[in-house]
Amino acid sequence: MAWILMLAVVGLVVHPENCGQPTTAEVNEAAGEAVSWFGANIAGDGTFVYRYDRAVGETLGGYNDVRHAGVLLSLYQAESAGIEGAAAIADRGLAYVDEHLQPTPIGIAFGRGSIARSGSVGLLAAALDERRSALDTDDRDALLLELGRTLTAVVEPDGSVGASIDTKTGSTSGRSPFFTGEVLWALARLHLTFPDRDFDETALRVYRYLIEDRDRVESPWPPVSDHWGAYALETMSRWPNADNLRLGPDLELDGTATSDWLRRQLNLFGLQVRYESQRHGGLTRFTRGTVALPAGVGTLGEGIGNHLQFLNRFPEVAADIDIDALNDRARCVAHLLVQRQTSASQAREHRAPLRSQGAWFREDVTQMDDQQHALSALLLLKDWMPK
C-alpha cells in the first residue's frame, strides 16, 4: 500500500514526457507548411492574418508591428535555410514596413502612431540583415544603417534599452522583457555585416547589462528565458573577437558571467520543455494546465537551438552542461511542434482550411507569431534531428 501511495504521489509530480525524435525531413516539411501558411494569409497591403479563430471561422483583428517584423525575419530565415519562395512572401510584407517607417530625431523607426517600439526596429533590422544574406543583396543597406543608428540611440549608458520611442521628440521610455535581447541581436548582426561602424561597442554594453543586471533590475521573478538573448549570443560568437564573450576584458565582466547566464538560461529552457512535454490533454489539463501558446513553445526551440550552436563553437563556456540532455530537449521541442501543427486533413475539417493548414493553435485560436516562432525554431533545430 505504501508503495502504491508513494508511486501515485510521485506520478502526480512527474508525468510522462511526450518527447519523440522527428527526422530532419519531417522538421523541414513542417517548416515548409508554416511558410505556406504565411503565403496563404498575407493581404495586399503586406499584413498577415493576425489572429484567427477556427471554431467560428473568423479573423479576430488587431495587429502588432513588432510581430510583423518578426514574421518577416522568420520568412527570410526560411529562405536562408533553403525554403524557396519564403523571401518572396516576406518581400510582399515589406510593403507594410515601407508604409510605416517614420523619421524620428534619433533615426528611422518602424511603427504606427506617435510611439514606436525599439523591438520593432530591432527585429526589422534583423529581418533585413537576414534578407541581405538570403538574397545576396545590398539594396536595403542604407535603411539598415539608419535602423542601426536608431538602435544605438535607444541604448542607455548602463546598457539598458528604452522600449518606447516618442517619434516626435525621440525620447525613449519603459523597458520590455524581450526588446533588450532583440536590440542586442540586431546590433550584433549589424556588427558582423558592417564591421567598421562600431555597432559592437553598443552591443557589448547591452550584452553586459543583459547577462548581469537585466533580470535583477527589471524582472526579479520569474527570470526571463530569453530566446532573443540566445540569438544574440550565438551571433556574437561569430564575431572575430568572440573570445571577449568568455573573458570580457573590455567589459570588466566577471570571467564566468557568460557561463553563469548561459547556465541559468539553459536550466530555464530545459525545465519549460520538460513541463510542456508533460501536457497531454485529458487529466493533465488539471495537473499541468492547457498547452502553452505555440509561440511560447517556439521560443523554447529558438533558445535551445541557438545555445546548442553557441556551445558547439565554445563548449568550454559551459563544460558542465549536459549536452545529451540539451539535445534531448531540442528534439522534444521539435517533436511537440511537428506533432501540434495542423495538417492538411485536420485543416479540411474547418471552414477555411488555408487559415488553418500549417498553423499552430491553442484552444482554436492562432496568432501570426505562433507560426513565426515555431518556424524559426524548426529551422534552428532541424540540424539536431536524426537524419
Partner: protein, 177 residues
C-alpha cells in the same frame, strides 16, 4: 546530482533507525537478518540502476525529471519518518527470511530508494549509482548491527534530514536542463 547528495538521500530513504526497530532482538539473529536484508536490497538496487534507462524510456521520463521524482519520494519518506512510529519487528517471516520481511521489505528497500536508484543509474551510470547507494546501504546495515536502538527521535531526526535532502534533490531536478 552529486555523489554526496545521492548517498545522503539513500541513507535517509533507508532510515537505519526504522530498519533497526524491526530487526530481531538477539545479536546473532539480528546479524544474520541484516546480512540477508542488505544482500536483498543491494540486489534490488543494482537491478533498478541497471534497468534505469529502459525503465525511464518506458515511462517517458527524462533523467532530469527522475531527479524530481527521487527527491519527492525521499521527501515523502522523510515526512513519514518524522511523524510515524518506527515499525514493529512483528509480523515477520521465520528465521533468515526475517531479513526479507519486514527488514528489507518494506523497511530498507523503500520506494524512495528504488526511485533514487533508477534516477542515479540514469544520471550517473549504473556502476557509479550502485557503488554510491551500495555504500549507503552497507552503512545502514552496520548501524543496525551495532544495535543503536530505534528510538523514535533518532528515526525522526533522519526523517527531518530526508526532508532536507529530498527537497534539495527535487530542486536539483527542477533546475537541471
Amino acid at each position: 546530482m552529486s555523489s554526496t547528495l545521492i548517498a545522503l538521500a539513500a541513507v535517509c530513504a533507508a532510515n537505519p533507525f526504522r530498519v533497526g526497530a524491526c530487526a530481531p532482538e538477539s545479536a546473532v539473529a539480528r546479524r544474520q537478518a541484516v546480512v540477508v536484508a542488505t544482500a536483498f536490497t543491494l540486489f534490488a538496487v543494482a537491478l533498478s540502476a541497471l534497468l534505469s534507462d529502459p525503465i525511464l524510456d518506458l515511462l517517458n521520463v527524462s533523467g532530469s525529471s527522475s531527479r524530481i521524482a527521487a527527491g519527492v519520494a525521499v521527501l515523502i519518506v522523510g515526512i513519514r519518518d518524522l511523524f510515524a512510529q518506527p515499525p514493529s519487528p512483528e509480523p515477520a517471516l521465520a528465521g533468515l527470511l526475517a531479513g526479507i520481511v519486514p527488514m528489507a521489505f518494506p523497511s530498507l528497500f523503500t520506494p524512495a530508494l528504488a526511485i533514487l536508484a533508477v534516477s542515479a543509474g540514469a544520471e550517473r551510470g549504473a556502476v557509479t549509482a550502485i557503488g554510491i547507494i551500495g555504500a549507503a546501504i552497507l552503512s545502514v546495515g552496520l548501524i543496525v548491527v551495532a544495535n543503536v536502538r530505534g528510538t523514535h527521535w533518532r528515526a525522526a531526526a533522519v526523517g527531518s534530514a530526508g526532508v532536507v535532502f529530498g527537497t534539495l534533490l527535487a530542486l536539483n531536478g527542477v533546475t537541471a536542463v
